[in-house]
Symmetry: C2
Subunit: 266 residues, 2 copies
């Protein structure tokens, strides 16, 4: 049954709104996704939310998902645009938002043979970059994203939005560097980093499977000891004045190139 | 001479702060850049600001730029972290910010033979994407960025920050689509768009010089009539569930691939 909520002080409104904060997400083990496109992407991946909130009128696709969610046992709530705006913290909120259980993120869950390419990102600070990298991971059919050291929350509203639904299709793991290295070296895998301190052009290198593409922090790049652990470091030529790319842009260039190299090798 | 300002209500403080708004930027013909790295990038490109504001202590590189700015006739202002925070609208402001004259953005300024690759972006909404694309443009030594139709302001603080200084090295032009097409067809140039409605893989296409890489809006992609105008449309294979990449990530993949194709062709 659909519940109708018309009060700003309703406990459910407050609880959902609280998921904008990392602490509440961690305590509840849930996260917030806004917008029909992302919620439809979750549904297409077989995931229905714990709670779904909308303000009428309902888009036909949203109506379809509401019915599926009701069958699934989702807490479906109809409310006003103003209350939705309060929950989403935006003046022009999406007309639908949903709460999902956050998956576990331990390394042990990863099956490295499930995909030829994995993305590993070190100390990313920008949730938008994390979401964009997840979206790129989906596009290249990466197995998932491994987040190393302290990083922005991949389940933040901003990261979820930038992922355009890839938060539901990409496996996410988090680990300290030494944990990751121990896990990596317990099985097959080529660790590939980009560096300014190598002469190997990224176009001339050979990429093995499974390939773990290691991306550095936005402002510092990879620490030297992380580079030293790589099986292969490659250089992306920088033809301009600056010596760097946006972390998510660099990841996309490398991931598409590695895929392309495999296709051309046959 | 360095001026010292200790009052929040100082007119210069208010004027600089107003540059966070697009209207004021347009009225003044100036824009704001925050952070030493970007201001140093401008200096390295031969540009010193009209005004420069800092809170002590000064980083040695900032001190060097302050001296050059004083010689140049820049209005150099020393102030407190609190007042700097007010100007920049952030709790943890960069310790230096600067005001630059906004360059003219008419198409007629572009010299298409100055570079083999140009980026053309249609109706981009996200200033972060514009800045990231400028940064990518710098990395591939593009001639500049042509912004088509209604778009976010490339001189917004957010775009300038994401450009990491490329706002000073990339030429920027703005134009309506019909103006752009008229200009493009008055000289040599291959217009290349990415599309889901073509069978040509981006890896198999031939890219001519000068190449104008056309990027579509974040949520809609390219309108069909824009695609129809392209001399070449190519498909980037999407191996996952979603059928799209972030606009700035897609631009980076295409721009690096075009450069790579030219290198391999010799």
């Amino acid at each position: 049954m659909i519940r109708r909520i018309d009060s700003f002080s309703n406990d459910t409104v407050k609880r959902i709104r609280s998921l904008r904060d990392k602490k509440a997400r961690r305590a509840e083990g849930r996260f917030l996704a806004e917008g029909l496109r992302i919620i439809a992407e979750a549904r297409d991946s077989g995931l229905l939310p714990d709670a779904l909130v909308y303000a009428p009128p309902l888009h036909p696709l949203a109506r379809e998902i509401v019915h599926q969610a009701l069958d699934h046992g989702t807490d479906v709530i109809e409310t006003t645009p103003d209350i939705l705006a309060k929950m989403s913290g935006k003046d022009n909120p999406q007309m639908v938002l949903a709460v999902y259980p956050a998956p576990a993120t331990d390394l042990a869950r990863l099956n490295r043979s499930a995909a030829p390419l994995w993305i590993v990102a070190q100390a990313l600070r920008d949730p938008g970059n994390i979401g964009t990298i997840l979206r790129t991971g989906d596009a290249v059919a990466a197995g998932g994203l491994i987040l190393i050291d302290d990083h922005a929350d991949p389940f933040s509203v901003e990261a979820v939005r930038a992922s355009m639904g890839a938060i539901f299709t990409q496996t996410i793991a988090t680990a300290r560097w030494d944990e990751f290295v121990a896990w990596l070296r317990a099985g097959p895998g080529q660790l590939v980093g980009t560096s300014l301190r190598t002469d190997t052009d990224y176009l001339d290198a050979t990429y093995d499977q499974p390939c773990f593409l290691l991306v550095g922090n936005e402002s510092q790049g990879l620490p030297p000891e992380y580079e030293a652990e790589c099986d292969l470091t490659v250089k992306m030529p920088m033809l301009g004045r600056a010596d760097s790319l946006n972390a998510a842009a660099a990841t996309a260039v490398m991931a598409f190139h590695i895929r392309a190299a495999w296709r051309h090798r046959g």
